[in-house]
Symmetry: D2
Subunit: 359 residues, 4 copies
Amino acid sequence: MDKFKVAILGCTGLVGQRFVQLLANHPFFEIEALVASEKSAGRKYYEVTKWVIESEIPENIRDMRVIALDPDKLPKVDLVFSALPADIAKIIEPEFARRGFIVISNASNERLEPDVPLIVPEINLDHLKLIEVQRKKRNWKGVLVKNPNCTTIILTLSLKPLLDEFGIEKVVVTTMQAISGAGIGSDAVLGMQIVDNIIPFIKGEEEKVENESLKILGQFTGSEIKWINFMITATTTRVPVLDGHLESVYVELGKEVEIDDVIKVFEKFSVEKSLKKFGLPTAPEKPIVLRNEIDRPQPRLDRMEGNGMSVVIGRIRKVKGVKNAIKYLVLGHNVIRGAAGNTVLIGEVLTKLMPELIT
Amino acid sequence: MDKFKVAILGCTGLVGQRFVQLLANHPFFEIEALVASEKSAGRKYYEVTKWVIESEIPENIRDMRVIALDPDKLPKVDLVFSALPADIAKIIEPEFARRGFIVISNASNERLEPDVPLIVPEINLDHLKLIEVQRKKRNWKGVLVKNPNCTTIILTLSLKPLLDEFGIEKVVVTTMQAISGAGIGSDAVLGMQIVDNIIPFIKGEEEKVENESLKILGQFTGSEIKWINFMITATTTRVPVLDGHLESVYVELGKEVEIDDVIKVFEKFSVEKSLKKFGLPTAPEKPIVLRNEIDRPQPRLDRMEGNGMSVVIGRIRKVKGVKNAIKYLVLGHNVIRGAAGNTVLIGEVLTKLMPELIT
Amino acid sequence: MDKFKVAILGCTGLVGQRFVQLLANHPFFEIEALVASEKSAGRKYYEVTKWVIESEIPENIRDMRVIALDPDKLPKVDLVFSALPADIAKIIEPEFARRGFIVISNASNERLEPDVPLIVPEINLDHLKLIEVQRKKRNWKGVLVKNPNCTTIILTLSLKPLLDEFGIEKVVVTTMQAISGAGIGSDAVLGMQIVDNIIPFIKGEEEKVENESLKILGQFTGSEIKWINFMITATTTRVPVLDGHLESVYVELGKEVEIDDVIKVFEKFSVEKSLKKFGLPTAPEKPIVLRNEIDRPQPRLDRMEGNGMSVVIGRIRKVKGVKNAIKYLVLGHNVIRGAAGNTVLIGEVLTKLMPELIT
Amino acid sequence: MDKFKVAILGCTGLVGQRFVQLLANHPFFEIEALVASEKSAGRKYYEVTKWVIESEIPENIRDMRVIALDPDKLPKVDLVFSALPADIAKIIEPEFARRGFIVISNASNERLEPDVPLIVPEINLDHLKLIEVQRKKRNWKGVLVKNPNCTTIILTLSLKPLLDEFGIEKVVVTTMQAISGAGIGSDAVLGMQIVDNIIPFIKGEEEKVENESLKILGQFTGSEIKWINFMITATTTRVPVLDGHLESVYVELGKEVEIDDVIKVFEKFSVEKSLKKFGLPTAPEKPIVLRNEIDRPQPRLDRMEGNGMSVVIGRIRKVKGVKNAIKYLVLGHNVIRGAAGNTVLIGEVLTKLMPELIT
């Protein structure tokens, strides 16, 4: 089989590095273009990249020349994965889409636009049908699909089974987020800020969680996404952990439940919604992994579950004094499931399961 | 003035070290006895102590001989401060009290007993009147007063002003707790467990927060404490921070409020309830310090506020979708305000403001 | 092929966990017995193990019953890998060897005994011939072979090529050692000791480096090891790193050299001495990996090189003012190459390349 | 007494913050001007400063307006303390000196110029006489005095007593340096780079140590500094520690010595060379503090010794096999003794002890 050719926009940043790692030897995809800012253009990938993730730069990518970010000069590719900063993405991504490129983007711009699909494949694949709405409305040959905020992906993977089975009335979530979430650019968390410390604020994050969750869990009506309606409030913090966002979740459900029922619902979802059965290489066998130990999930021990694509749930408890409430912890790898991995999985879905949408 | 003589039980552990630091040059108190386990007895303090806090062992304490834990052999002292482990404290503290010692203890045993005062001085000084109930009931010459759980002290200092002014219906709290909270004994957090990691479980902690809060914020009826009645649920985690517990608090109040009102209530409490005006050396000028910066409180920068005795509150926000709810972060030094410092402050109150209770 | 049956003594500690990880699906070896202290005996492995390494307990080991440490009750196995503490090992390992077991041990006792082989397979395989000397002298049916100190293994792998080609006159080494090196037992490094800190002392470590290096690099004369003769001095420190010992090495060679020559010597050694060509599964393709980047090796990025069995050398420089001196940094995974991995590799050598020595 | 008016160039960076902290309530000095880049000019100090050190911005400085870096617009001040980046300092500092300002600078430019004093006050106060040489040579009304590299200051404070008493032939030093040394600007160490890691390279640092040490320890001949002549080689690394550089030092002395003699020499130096007796507020009582414990100095426990102005030496040992060699560890606070504190101390010396040099 011929591989689909892909480009990576913003290839030198932290999410860009994960894209490279996931795509360098991908069975469906082949990296055709590494795209970065003007100042990196023309140089070899290894020369312009401050590589900070655990494995080395893949051999076949190391010496590839980076090209400049310019929609008119991108070679023909089947998919464009974007890890651009939102302020640049906002301007340039539509230009790529207008010229016919299929852009699947991790940048935060336009995520809430009514005609932009915001996808967690195991949750809302059907939202991809917005693509037709978008193309018509914007008169684009290409399309712009969005990967949600990392924290939100992890959270909604845990909420979706509860919502479907029990209904949700209220969610109160506090997150402990890894420093990789801030990247290695101008917003990077400095060592001086985070050693022996917590920073209880992440710009724009709480709003993203509160808004994007409702859209992701919403319904596609045929012409738009009708946001789900429940109360959700988030407090997001930065902790001295390299990778893996841990979230403490309190949920008031639509009815009183027993913990065993909750466990069953998570397990059932994990089996039924797994995309592994369709042969998608980045899909984890189990999108949700449950742990029984009293002190899990832990970021260092659990973040690579399912090659970083599973979320791990533990400590599911009832809440004394509120019959319909439960609480639990959920962990996910913020750069894999929360960013590059989920984006690649969207690409796999589009090329293998819904090719008609992008032709 | 002659100083009150004090003993420190469990002087070599982490809380014991803070007791030593706070009491070595205290204007009211003089360390008469350093008490530890049999195996340390007879040796010099510096020889048996794995000192891990930032200043050195005070010069005048360094060479003091440690004595064994035995109620029959303790020299006459005016106050006994206890930092014993709960399992030992449970057995031995009543023996000290029976023999006439005034024991103010940080150990978790008996905190919920109906005749045991559980004190945060700025909140519930009047609960100290339980002392008379206790002595009568137990027929003790001495008394046993308890310092609450560290996380609970910090939380309740933030809840009390809200409770008094607005009422409280529901509290959902997630904590990020420093490793010093686990001490340096057999429950200590290992480096291997916590570097690049979070442990989302602390044994018994959530129950302590949920129960002790309701007692501390309760009413003394003349013969007992009537617990306050609101719903409270906690998730407690351990993070790679040396000192300072950070708590993310969601509160549904008794009525809808504006943020400015909340700020005023905190500020008013901080002025009115400060015990500094009574000349208590360990009392902070402001028991509550508010910070306006968007990214505070932070453990490393704020934990020593008020010499570690203030709690620092920041990021007070309204909650979209729940009229009567607010959320905020509160930070306190877990070993000072949360343990040794609060306990010493109780001692200052008893000797200076309520001497009649202990004679 | 039938697999060799092996036992792991001290299976619950940190090195024991790595043994389990390396041996659970080993092509030559099969775990027949998991041995730990009396209090763990009879229970399932997962119940008695505080697992702290990144992957999970292997499925096929999780529910195995641990047996008590007793030479008379160990089932028949072909090899015994020991990760016992030195004080226990000192007493019990000889008992196993006396009863005929082939014991390959990571414990520090007896390493310097004249009839005990102290092996880094790529350096001194011929020292295994001491086995015959030992059996004769001690009249044992079994044998005791030792794995060297972790820091020393990493250091000597870098020194051996230099020694052979240029001679060595003087070595001054300062190490920055990971906290996993202290294990998770009573000597474990506490979080309170190591967050935002360095401990510039590791008990017994400097002596181990200074002595064991000279034995490992020594010559087998037919009846004993003649230690190599050069000056070596070490300063060993503990840093807040999970895995991977980094060593800053200053060497005065036997003659003046150019950096290019040094590089060639390392590369040649790495090719010629690799045991991969003999099909040993734990042997790395390259025992020495060189890195050109100005800021490598780094523990987090380089410790898993060669599945944790390669040492990584970087920043090779000449020393201004001393013609025959060079300096460089070398890094190795202290628990894999420095402990369990090197020990397993010795086992692979004994069973595959030198079976006559253990029959 | 009227205070001397001072300006701080580069007031918002990490060293600048320490200058502010040390000078805000200084008995001799009064901050007259806070100087930073154009983009901060006109705004309040707290608005333009990402404050990362443990205390708060001093009350009296918080609202001061920052002024732009322009030699022609600086108000008249008695001293200018510079914490500028070297590339800017190189251009602008001479302009200030030319216009008559007394500039004491922490920037690395010109440190090795023959007519520039490079001062550690307890070591080489007499080098300040270079000021006359410089003014004559450069025809400046003002002057430029340099603070040495942080690592070098700490090292040379430990070497000077040894040099004077025993002579020095060879020094091999490996450093473990705090992340604050890289500041919070564009060279800052990112959290992603340093959590669970060491970076074994600091740009330009090894050369600074090797060169500046020889100048600092050199002799003023009346017209120039004659560098001392011994071999010195350094390996410098970055570790996950907030403040405090730890250095592992191997020294071959001019003769064989006993450890007791070394201790005496350090103690004698510490008493005799202390500048505290001249009433200099920033001078520590003891420039060198010795610790007997087997595991000290440790950055977190010892860096604030002497308010961050003492260096702490421990683990002094003889070296087996080299009669005249010793080894030890020395620690100092890199931003206080290594930068702002040492610079302020030079200012105190110039204004109080050698006022004739700057008039």
